[in-house]
Amino acid sequence: MAGQSDSTMSLFSSEEIEFMAEDEMVEIVPNLRMDSLNFICGDYGPFYPQLAAQVPIWLALALKKRGKCTIRLPQWMSIENLTQVLEAERDSHAFQPLPFHYVEISRLLFDLAREDIPDMYMVRSLIEDIRDVRFHKVETNLEKFTASTVTWKNMSAMEVNVIRAFAGRALQAFYKHDNEQQTPDTDRTLDKQPQIPTDRPKRNLKPR
C-alpha cells in the first residue's frame, strides 16, 4: 500500500507523518453559524460568521473543501519571516527554528487553501528553497557521523523521517565497527561448545 509503512525501510510512511501534522492547530474564519463540535479528539467551536477560531488543520481543510471558511496563513509562513529564515539557513550550519511539521503543513495549505495565501507562488518557492537548503544540511551532518549518540536541534518531522532508515543503519554499522574490537561478534563463548548427542535417544516429548 502506498501509505502503509513498509516495515523494512522506514517506520513511518510520509502519509502517517502528514496524519500527525493534521492535528496541529490553525486559525480559520468561518462563514457560517455552527454549534460546537464535541469530537473524540477534543471540543471545537461554536462557530460564528467572520469570527476567527482555532481548529486542527484536518478540520480546517474539511470546512475549506466544503466552502465553509477561509484559512488564516500561519505567521511563520509570511513572506518576511520565510525570507529571513532562508537567509539564516544559508548563513549557518544550524537548523533554524521552524514548526516541527512545517513541510506537511505548508503542502496541505498549498494543495487545499491556495486562495487564502496571498502571492502563493512566492511563499511556495521560499519554502521549497528552505527545504532544499535544510535537506542538504542534513546530508552534511550525516557526514560527521561517529558511533555515538547524535543530536539534531530544530530538525523537522519529515526531514527526520527521510533519513531515519539510512542513518539508523549507518549508526548501527559505526557502533559495531568501533566496538567490535572489544566484543567479538561470535554468539557464544568457548566454554559453551555443543557436544555431540552420543547417548541413545530417549523417547521424550518434543520440547515446544
Binding site: 525501510m9 510520509s14 557526514e143 523521517n161 543503519r169 554499522a173 565497527h177 561478534d185
Partner: protein
C-alpha cells in the same frame, strides 16, 4: 542465536576460510576428488566459516586469512577505499571481517572501520543525490551492508517525493507482484 532465521546471517557463514587441520579426522571426505575418508593432521583445505569456526574453537583446525583480506586488498583499500570492488571480494565484507578478526587477525577490525568510514561518505552522497541509473556502476562495488544503506536512502527519498506529488493513496498490494496485463 539471536538471528537464527536471518538469511544474511546464514549466508555470511558460508564464506570459505583456509584451514590447516591440527588433528586427524576419520569418517569424513574433505574433497570430492579422493575416496579417502580420512584427513591427516597438517593437511590444508578451505572450509565454510560455520564449520571452521566450531573446529577452531576446539583446536581441531587453525584458520588462515582468506583472500578477501589479503595484503593486496588492504593496500587497495588504503590507496582509495571508495573505488575498491569489495562486492566481488566478499559481499559480506564487513560482517565476515567482524567474525574473523578475533579468530585470526585483529588488524582486520581496523581495516573494516577505516574502509567503512570512507565508503560511507560515498554511499551517503550518491544515495541522496544521483539518480539511480547514473549510480549503477558505483552500486556494483558495494557490499550487502552498504547496498542496504543505499537502498534505505533511495526508497525513503522516493517515498517522500511520491507523497509530495500526491496521487492515489491506496495501491494494489505489493505482495501480488507485478500487475498482470488485464485481458484487453
Amino acid at each position: 542465536m539471536a538471528n537464527y532465521y536471518d538469511i544474511d546471517s546464514i549466508l555470511v557463514e558460508e564464506e570459505f576460510v583456509p584451514v590447516v587441520f591440527q588433528k586427524a579426522i576419520n569418517g569424513v571426505k574433505i574433497d570430492e576428488s579422493t575416496e579417502k575418508g580420512y584427513v591427516e593432521q597438517g593437511s590444508k583445505t578451505q572450509l565454510p566459516f560455520w564449520l571452521a569456526h566450531e573446529l577452531h574453537m576446539r583446536q581441531a583446525v587453525s584458520i588462515g586469512v582468506p583472500a578477501c583480506f589479503n595484503q593486496k586488498t588492504r593496500l587497495e583499500i588504503q590507496a582509495d577505499a571508495a573505488c575498491v570492488d569489495l562486492r566481488s571480494r566478499c559481499p559480506y565484507f564487513y560482517e565476515f571481517g567482524c567474525k574473523l578478526a578475533p579468530l585470526c587477525d585483529k588488524s582486520i577490525g581496523l581495516l573494516l572501520a577505516y574502509a567503512f568510514r570512507i565508503r560511507y561518505k560515498e554511499v551517503l552522497h550518491k544515495a541522496h543525490t544521483t539518480a539511480f541509473a547514473a549510480a549503477s556502476r558505483f552500486l556494483m562495488l558495494l557490499t550487502k551492508e552498504e547496498t542496504y544503506m543505499y537502498e534505505a536512502a533511495q526508497s525513503s527519498m522516493a517515498a517522500f517525493k511520491k507523497w509530495r506529488m500526491g496521487g492515489p493513496r491506496l495501491q494494489r498490494a505489493s505482495i501480488l507482484g507485478r500487475k498482470r496485463k488485464p485481458a484487453e
